[in-house]
Amino acid sequence: MRSRNRTVWDWYLNGIRLRRGRRPGFGTLSFVTSKSTRRPPPGQEALSRDFIARHQRARVIRALAEEVSEKGYRAVTVADVVSRAGIARNTFYENFRSKEGCFLAAQDFAMTAALERVVGAAGEIEDWPHRVAAGLAAFLRYVAEEPALARACIVDALGAAPDAVEYYEESLQAFVSLFRLGRDVSAHGPELPDTLEEALIGGVFWILYQRLLIDEPERVEQLLPELVEFALTPYLGAAAAREVADEAEVNPAGVSGDQKTE
């Protein structure tokens, strides 16, 4: 009974809700959970004729993120974004319908890029606790490298349009499957509550939200040990979780580099 429910639950929680057709980023999810991580085949990558358009789109997205992280979502106008990106107003409207549309695109852009980092760092690690640590490390690294985008997508998304809030909440569910694998290595995996992963992810992102709210993107990577410990404790118990967290503290690069099997 319970396991049958879980299949449905998994499907829902995985966040692969493409029904609305605006969540292409979640396609990378399978790379997070499967062992073999390969980038999408070259055919799915940009054709050269699209390159300029894509580049321009990315520039607008970054400009929006910078504007939003400086002024707050409400205060930003399309004119601000256009002038910051140094593009024509027409070009903006060729790519996006509105500020709201551009913001959703920014969320998707950032989430896709962050997930690719997570996949690249964690996908090939066999040992689950280290896989989680490496994934978190890669995610935090991305946040630190893209402070404006991260702030826009993690902090300002909550105050933006209802669609943006929903996207934020649902996109985080992409991490559910990665966490859920911990049930297989946990001594009490089958008894863990169904909603555990959802709650852990909510907790991790609330910490990130708080840290970015006070404008400390450069300190975000220091959160790694405590987040690792928080995420692993329910599966492994406090002592074993602490060990992995300590390793991450001593050598944050190590969890994403040295542990790779091959």
Binding site: H188, A199, G202, W206, I207, Q210, P234, A238
Partner: protein, 227 residues
Amino acid sequence: MNPSVDSPEYPPELARLPPGRHGLPREFVARNQRERLIAGLAEAVAENGYAGTTIAHITRHAAVSRRTFYEHFSSKDECFVAAYDTVMTELRQRVDDAFNQEEDWPQAVRAGIAAMLDFLTAEPHLARLSMVEALVAGPVVIERYDAAIQSLVPYFEAGRKGRSAEILAGLSPSTEEALVGGMVSLISRRVFADRAEELEALLPDLVEFTLTPYLGSAEAAKVARAA
């Protein structure tokens, strides 16, 4: 000192007050109008969402004049802040009462979470107002929203008291923040999806989730699943 309702100083909508309330002090009338506006806003927002709500919607639900609205609030945002504060004060009071009635900390956590879920289940419109609409109602409300979530931290910090050195060593300074963040995220996703009816079933999961760092998995599960 207590002019009758017929006095021209009173706006006509007061005639709608229940008969027993005639001749009440001005202060009361004002408070009453304010409360009606707040209730009116909650109804209007439930119907139209925050962005779609106009001051006309609010005054219609509250059955007061537009002028009365502006005597109390300068904008829709300001009225929303008042409504948000009203809801959160009530919620906070219920959680606090429930928590304080239990001596044993794990039971107190359980009672506090149960009280919160009860309130949000019984008042789905207010749940939406405080967890969904609040997020798009401007920076002032967002600040209050953050503060409201963070104000739950001390209930969990109380669980550190009397724990072994080994357990305390495993609790990072942000443990409680992560717990409340996780808890609120579980709740708000369901409110967001208009599935408030699922909230009560979250009780055991939330209790287990929040107690595990302090009690360990097995003990936390026991408290969570006890009827």
